[in-house]
């Protein structure tokens, strides 16, 4: 029986670049043809249709359904074409019910597409499920792959054996993850006793333990507090820098910013944008809202006069109000300066629009992104 890994026993992560590449292969290296990266994940006309019972309202409807079965087809993913290159980091965003999770489950081989094809590393996840499983890592923010009734270190040991990772490599990888995720303190804790933040740290390590070529992160920071979020984000940035292909779905702009260059927006199962994240942000997430609290009441009309390019709205009492402005027209400093001239500012905060705001405006037809699709 092999001893359980114990980070406290002075195991160190790799110290040289060469050693590091031994335990952590660069996926980009496997997927280049004549120096050019090739697709590692490919979806062609990927479609998923769910059949759901169409019951009439109330008990009557339910009873009727027992005898006359009617079903309704819901198209969750609608003819999606997507190609992700090795080493690429892609954010997949969309509102609830847009088909994000379903897409991830199709692209990782969990669900079978109703029509169209998915290939991972050239393999069909349905025909070569076990081969594909070795090459992908999956993290679902709302589920855990840790063994509920075992200490975290035992869960890792089981995963080590499931993926046939040799002991030396395993220890070195864990030691490396430990640097960012601080796993050491979690090692003796039972899976079910972990807090959400602890669980996510352990789950991230679990998803990456076999150095997958592609990793799918589905809402990896959901419900986490800021400090854990930062750590988790730092971890997946590290992973990306080391050459792992990452596909991330999230509601949280903070996850996406500074992480990936490519943004895919989905709505009602269709890809409505696929292109450069920065371009979208520069173009559309330019609005800022400054919430101000002043010492004395400020007449809003005066404020409007001195800030003609902004929209001033009243707050819950006369000393509070909000100013909406375009960050390419005004700066926050300028706005604060203008308000200070009217009264002393006691407190203020700035709202930045989330990617969701951008997306919402895309749906409402305010924004035309389609022309920008890469």
């Amino acid at each position: 029986m092999n001893p359980a890994p114990d980070l406290a026993n002075g195991c160190e992560g790799p110290t040289t670049a060469e050693e590091f590449r031994r335990i952590w292969p660069d996926t980009r290296a496997f997927h280049t043809v004549e120096g050019r990266a090739v697709a590692i994940v490919e979806a062609e006309q990927m479609t998923k249709v769910f059949r759901r019972p169409d019951k009439g309202p109330g008990l009557r409807g339910s009873l009727k359904h027992l005898f006359v079965r009617r079903f309704d087809d819901k198209v969750a993913v609608d003819h999606v074409d997507l190609s992700i290159e090795a080493g690429e980091a892609v954010a997949y965003v969309g509102p609830n019910g847009a088909g994000k999770s379903t897409s991830v489950k199709l692209l990782s081989g969990i669900l079978v597409p109703t029509s169209g094809t998915v290939r991972i590393d050239g393999l069909s996840p349905q025909k070569d499920r076990e081969e594909v499983a070795k090459r992908i890592g999956v993290l679902f923010g709302q589920r855990t792959q840790l063994w509920w009734d075992l200490p975290v270190r035992e869960s890792f040991a089981v995963l080590r054996d499931l993926y046939s990772i040799d002991h030396g490599t395993f220890r070195q990888r864990l030691a490396r993850f430990n640097e960012v995720l601080e796993l050491e303190e979690l090692m003796p804790v039972l899976g079910r006793k972990l807090s959400l933040g602890q669980r996510m740290r352990a789950d991230l390590a679990a998803a990456m333990l076999h150095a997958p070529r592609v990793v799918y992160l589905d809402e990896p920071t959901i419900g986490l507090d800021l400090s854990v979020k930062d750590r988790v984000r730092q971890f997946f940035r590290t992973v990306r820098d080391e050459g792992t292909t990452v596909m991330l779905t999230s509601h949280d702009l903070g996850d996406i910013e500074g992480f990936c260059r490519r943004l895919v927006i989905v709505d009602t199962g269709r890809v409505i944008f696929d292109g450069d994240l920065k371009a979208v942000k520069d173009a559309f997430a330019r609005e800022r809202i400054l919430h101000v609290e002043t010492e004395t009441a400020v007449p809003l009309d005066t404020a409007r006069e001195i800030l003609p390019n902004a929209v001033v709205t009243a707050g819950e009492n006369p000393t509070r109000f909000s100013i909406r402005f375009d960050r390419f027209v005004l700066t926050a400093g300028h706005v604060i300066g203008a308000v200070t001239a009217l009264s002393n500012v006691v407190d203020f905060s700035v709202d930045e629009p989330g990617i969701e705001d951008v997306i919402r405006r895309v749906y409402s037809g305010d924004l035309q992104l389609a022309g920008e699709a890469a």
Binding site: S108, V112, R129, F140, Q142, E219
Partner: protein
Amino acid sequence: MNPYLALARAQARSVLAYRGNFALGLGGFLFQLVALLAVWRVVLSNGPIGSFDWPQMRSYLLVAFASGVIVGMGADYRMASRIVQGDVALDIVKPVDYQRARFAEAFGGVWIEVAVVLLVGGVTLVLFGGMAWPGWSETMLFLCSMLLLFPLKFLVVYMSGLACFWTQHYVGIQWARVAVVNLFSGALIPLAYLPSWLAAAAKWSPFAGLTSTPGLILVGQAPGREGFVLVAVQLFWVVTMWLAARGLWNKAMARLTVNGG
């Protein structure tokens, strides 16, 4: 370590996590055993009915108890709830065969069930007097039959768990399974007491291997060739159901939906 062994070992360690729940679940089987022992003792007090006398019935009921406990203490709930909750998504992205992995886990968890069976069997025999052992060859055949009981019970439980892919709920399936297994395996009453047409159907069904086959061999009611035939039928069903379960799994995968997260 072999991946399947690793899963078995993880499960072997996990079974101790819910001792209270295990004890309560066990209580259910124990009460049933005690009740059946009490009833049959009265019924058979005036001499044998049909082919069973009281000492035979005692041994037979112990086999029925064992067949209830083996792969019966939570393995079914575990498998079913992973499917109902959608955690099965994470099992699909593991580089192991799903069915073999679940089999390995059931195997890992069986040690405590076997320990309980041996303990309860021993205590019962002490309290109610010993049992008549059949000859050597029958004993060996009985042990083979008990060994086959494990994969057979696993497959019955596993396939009923897979049914959750269609029903999205387990309780109804479990009740149906328990009712069918109790009747057709002879766990509630020996098949010989059923109407002959039903007894014949049950005898060749996969369920007979769960109690009737090892039970009859143990009490000496399936002597010689008949015992071998019954064990061969048991083996046939293990192989057939293993393949059928694979087919069922493939069908389930094609229609899998995992909602939320």
